[in-house]
Symmetry: C2
Subunit: 406 residues, 2 copies
Amino acid sequence: MASPQPRSRNAPGAGAILQLIRTGEAVTRADIMERTGLSRSTVAQRLEQLVSRRLIVAAGSSASTGGRPPASFAFNPDAGVVLAAGMGATHSRLALTDLDGRVVVEESSDVDITQEPDAVLAWIEERFLALVRAGRRAPDDLLAIGVGVPAPVEHATGTPVSPPIMPGWDGYPIAERLRAAFAVPVLVDNDVNTMAWGEHAINWRDTPHMVYIKVGTGIGLGIVADGRVQRGSDGAAGDIGHLAIPAAEGIRCVCGNTGCLEAVASGRAMAQQLREQGLEARHSRDVVDLARSGELIAMNLVRESGRLIGEALVSAVNLLNPRVIVVGGDMAHADQLLLAGIREAVYQRSLPLATRHLRIVRSVLDDSAGVIGAAMLAIEHVLAPDVVDERLAEEEAARAASRAAS
Amino acid sequence: MASPQPRSRNAPGAGAILQLIRTGEAVTRADIMERTGLSRSTVAQRLEQLVSRRLIVAAGSSASTGGRPPASFAFNPDAGVVLAAGMGATHSRLALTDLDGRVVVEESSDVDITQEPDAVLAWIEERFLALVRAGRRAPDDLLAIGVGVPAPVEHATGTPVSPPIMPGWDGYPIAERLRAAFAVPVLVDNDVNTMAWGEHAINWRDTPHMVYIKVGTGIGLGIVADGRVQRGSDGAAGDIGHLAIPAAEGIRCVCGNTGCLEAVASGRAMAQQLREQGLEARHSRDVVDLARSGELIAMNLVRESGRLIGEALVSAVNLLNPRVIVVGGDMAHADQLLLAGIREAVYQRSLPLATRHLRIVRSVLDDSAGVIGAAMLAIEHVLAPDVVDERLAEEEAARAASRAAS
């Protein structure tokens, strides 16, 4: 028997109309009819579904060519919430956000990701429940969960694949576990991908080609091309940190190879170089503090590391021709020192055509890029037309069953 | 007044049904109804439209759960033809193909692309007309044109942008001119992009992440990610030839920079190195001939150039994590010598996760990749659901007007 709402149906349902309203492509009945080819009565019925589910609200009347002013509609970001976790190697940030990705409540903690996944996920579950309570939301308001982890991730299943810094998590079904606990869709992605997606969704939505480079303890790249996060064939795309650069020749990297960018220009490598020169620096943040306080050795090192990062970024510029490079991660707090070095190398070495419109800017979302990006990943999923239609159909079926039972 | 068939309508029209049939996703009435959510009568009406336009043919009955066996349908690649041109720096290949990209008639010629665009395009127009005649097709059968040129191309307008080897073509409206001459849609793209798309469409359709490297006079990369050609923000994506590699340090490149891969590992560079050693080699093909004839200096050079190309390809592997690297261009005729060098460097240097499923293979389409890819670009455009719906509506309107006039 054919299902009444097949997942892959092409007819524009309420979800497609929600999409038109949310993106601002069509917000009046007349525009929606024209864009969907649906009749007035069908559009009215689907708008009614969306209004009753509070996904849209009437937004008054818009100017029209005459006759009765058609009502226009607006997306309602308070129709639900999502939970998001941006997990780093040693630090995590969790948030409850509305459907625009605006934070309702958030918290950050030091968490060692090299622990057993069971312990970390039990902790995440507990904190997620606390966030829902703190946000004064009914459990029913929760629509989805997004998680970023510092590992290659098989996106379809939400499972880390051969994660170098969290080896105990190889193949661990993160998405499956959280879905069982919260009964909502769970999206899992690599941390740098979530950061790239967060910056893109909030600040660069109209720029289809961007890359985000995270310079922290390690170095990673998140690629947005044609408006989509590029994960590659095994979820391993964006690994810029282990490209070979001449300045790193012979220097051993944590990956087991030699000559990698990360071995000389990461926060970890910079801290080590400063320690070798008698300065106190354990982490990226210490390097930033020294550079910002005017310590010349640290300032020169950050600038030079920027140049080396820029050399590696030339690959990304020549291969991907992005319109913007967003620089994030702890080391981005060194700000213009790092960016000046990056710009110098990129503009010197890349092709003129690929750089004539290129901008190199600092991350606006900063430490929140990962958690916001994880939230946006969850939101984009849960507001996709097919998923909206399916949820509305399920709710309708549940109501019908409860009417029949009463 | 609302147009009767707005371009962006979401309702599944005949074009969406054609797509389902062409991809094999749904080929029976029942499956099409389920997938589109359309009624039996609407599906019947749209199938009839497609049959009368010969875009599909009844393909007999398929096994069913019982009752009347539903007719199944198949895409008809003979419903029209496209013209395609694969333009190289000195050589071009033109073809008339069916809607599966199968060649009906083709020809290849030596053409100097550095000539004035007017002269080259007048020649292309003349040869295109000759191909239509040779293929015994009515002018009405022509549905679209695809063109690949050795230049960065602004894809939306079909215009070369700052093309280094064909400077007279900067901003020349190739697509506009051919559209005026043939009154069909014209798609223009960079030559390596068309080669990548040809290989992908014909041999790697189920592999969403692939890169195609052309090693000829120059070196370029065509990127397919998420099943789409990636052109970047200015049509300049895929420029691997001007990445810096240590072995080229200080060596001047045709781009005006020094240290580029192309300055040491292209067919041009290899021929020059052989000449310096007293061997006769003007073009890539001469290098290939020498290497294949067992000339040790040439064999070593090709193998070593393969290693250098592999070093640069590590960037593409680490950043894009493709499932397959397809090696094409004249130098690919040196076959295993070149591939062995490439494999050696890629597998030695890339991340294990990114190479564990990676294949490095020679182009199957070989010299035809560009022209076939240009044809496939045109075909994908002209069979896109919106475009099909628009064309059917126009034809319907033209018939109605002619009835009214008679």
